[in-house]
Symmetry: C2
Subunit: 359 residues, 2 copies
């Protein structure tokens, strides 16, 4: 029973067969007239269009079309947390923008999936009607997600995901970028350097950075950036932030800085620009001047207007990441085998690092 919402109005909607009948042609011909996928005489096409017009037929039912062709025209993007949270991060927005734009070129739409959906939902990763899925800097132990999708036969692309998974991965040079920043600090003479990391797992709390937590981490970039920092400062300790907002950075910064001066680091490596901005504010809260009393570096290269000085950071091509992921998806759907790639980052000198203050 029951197609559509059996709302008051609607006597059954016309189907392609109805249109074909009215135009005096077979359904297959009518189908071709609509899709252009085959030869039809102009006169026939016109007749079909006219019949459609009369019957108020707007085109093939996408649901039926999807079943028949095996394609829905929809690509899913799995984002961490809820929209309001994820979308506070400019990097995610830019990446999605690039992704959506590129998918649009291929005629596909973007379905937003949050990690938080219950699997009873009609549109969870185990049941969403998607032709492919992009895992976006996710804290799903992405191997789990990937295996579910593989079983479903849904192709996957990851952005900053686990490279081992045998899936094309669009990456940025998180390790090298952080190492570069750490190197600048070392060259200036910093030795007491602390980290403010991104959450290591979905829904992490503010906490010290422990080896155990790092081992259990599911958020790739957080781990990789930590490695990059430790390439230069092997013993660097730090704080795991509870998110990637200015407020989260401020809270983490306070923990690191609101201590006796002798225990205070001379520099802080924050794993995102928003976190770094928060650290700068935390320093200001405590009467410390940046960069005189404290050097701070970030990651991402987003502009943060509220900061009194430009941040020393590395810029990543967020939108291009999305575009590349989109292109990889389109390629995949065309039967190609897109390759992983890793974007370089670009150093932005800014004005938040300096020589360590004499003690």
């Amino acid at each position: 029973m029951g197609r559509r919402s059996d709302n008051a109005d609607a006597e059954a909607r016309a189907t392609l067969s109805d249109v074909a009948a009215r135009a005096g042609v077979s359904p297959s011909t009518a189908s071709i007239a609509f899709s252009g996928q085959g030869p039809v005489s102009d006169s026939t096409k016109a007749r079909v269009r006219a019949a459609a017009e009369e019957l108020d037929y707007t085109g093939p039912d996408p649901l039926a079309r999807s079943l028949r062709t095996g394609r829905s025209g929809i690509v899913g993007a799995l984002i961490p947390q809820r929209i309001g949270t994820s979308f506070r991060d400019p990097v995610i927005i830019q990446t999605l923008d690039g992704l959506a734009e590129e998918l649009g070129q291929g005629g596909s739409g973007l379905l937003l999936l949050s990690e938080r959906t219950r699997d009873t939902d009609r549109v969870s990763i185990e049941a969403a009607p998607v032709d492919a899925l992009v895992l976006l800097g996710c804290g799903v132990s992405s191997t789990t997600a990937i295996s579910v999708l593989r079983r479903r036969g849904v192709p996957v692309i990851t952005i900053e995901g686990d490279p081992e998974a045998g899936v094309a991965n669009i990456d940025v040079d998180n390790r090298g970028g952080t190492r570069l920043l750490a190197g600048k600090l070392r060259d200036l003479g910093h030795r007491d350097v602390a980290l403010v990391t991104l959450p290591l797992a979905i829904a992490d709390d503010l906490a010290p950075l422990t080896a155990a937590a790092l081992d259990a981490a599911t958020v790739r970039p957080a781990v990789t950036r930590t490695h990059g920092a430790r390439d230069v400062f092997p013993d660097a300790q730090g704080i795991v932030a509870s998110g990637s907002t200015i407020a989260d950075g401020r809270a983490a910064g306070r923990v690191l800085l609101d201590v006796p001066p002798s225990d205070r680091p001379t520099a802080i490596i924050a794993q995102s620009d928003l976190l770094a901005a928060g650290v700068v504010f935390a320093a200001q809260d405590l009467g410390l001047s940046v960069p005189r009393d404290l050097s701070v570096v970030g990651f991402d290269g987003i502009r943060i207007d509220e900061l009194p000085m430009p941040l020393t950071t590395v810029a990543q091509p967020a939108q291009e990441k999305g575009t590349a992921a989109g292109r990889a998806v389109v390629d995949l759907l065309d039967g190609g085998r897109p390759e992983s790639r890793c974007f370089p980052v670009v150093f932005e000198p800014g004005a938040t690092i300096a020589l360590p203050a004499a003690r």
Copy 2:
């Protein structure tokens, strides 16, 4: 031929019939075992599950299920412009967040549609496989969109749309809110008041606010807020901004303020907080002090950290708007007839208005 991507791997995926056969039951029984929509003995259910496991069957194909049930489980959101642009507006993000969250409760997913899709796209409003669509503060002459969707039988909800369209509309008190702010300015003694409006149509350019432009406007809130301002200052002139960012406001503000002092308004009513912030910056650029030399009011109630003082504005419940729209959609899909509603706004005193400077 060809189901799915005929990629190297995959020998044909198992179907529900395969599972049923293996479990020694009929397809209908297997279906019930999966969906829970009917009576099955526990033992049968277990057998079906086991067979599924063995065949690597993860559940019913969503495409087939959709065709059969007439529901895709997907709700579309039509946003103006591209993601990167729309999502710079915190109000849109919050609204989408509320919407997605509420839809998630109903088990539906959110498909992002941009007005900019070409109608040849597989997933345009003409052909997206959605159970319903939410028009989000759109500049589509929404009547057009609505009529397409009505013909398709896709139910629609609008957010700040045209109320006449015979569609449930989730609105906020744009007119009353702006009138309230204008009233404050009048009470302080302002008489030379200028407007910085939101774009009146998709992709508007910075331009003077003319009667013709206002008549041709497709973006509802821009029109309504203009009316609200003119309820108090009937002759107020102004500038149509080219977007709703701080930069757009700054540009518009410059046009209004970079004139001989005698031509300068003593107050500016901007139609969004971002525009208002831009106006404040434009004033500063010209050496004017806010609110001493110029009073500025906004609209929305978002926090703008980079501003040196809190903005005088009215706050709208952006997330609740989304939630309400989501609830309306769910209601609609349940066969209900959700009603339009209009949220009130709340005055936020801020510190950007004062008595007009003596001339």
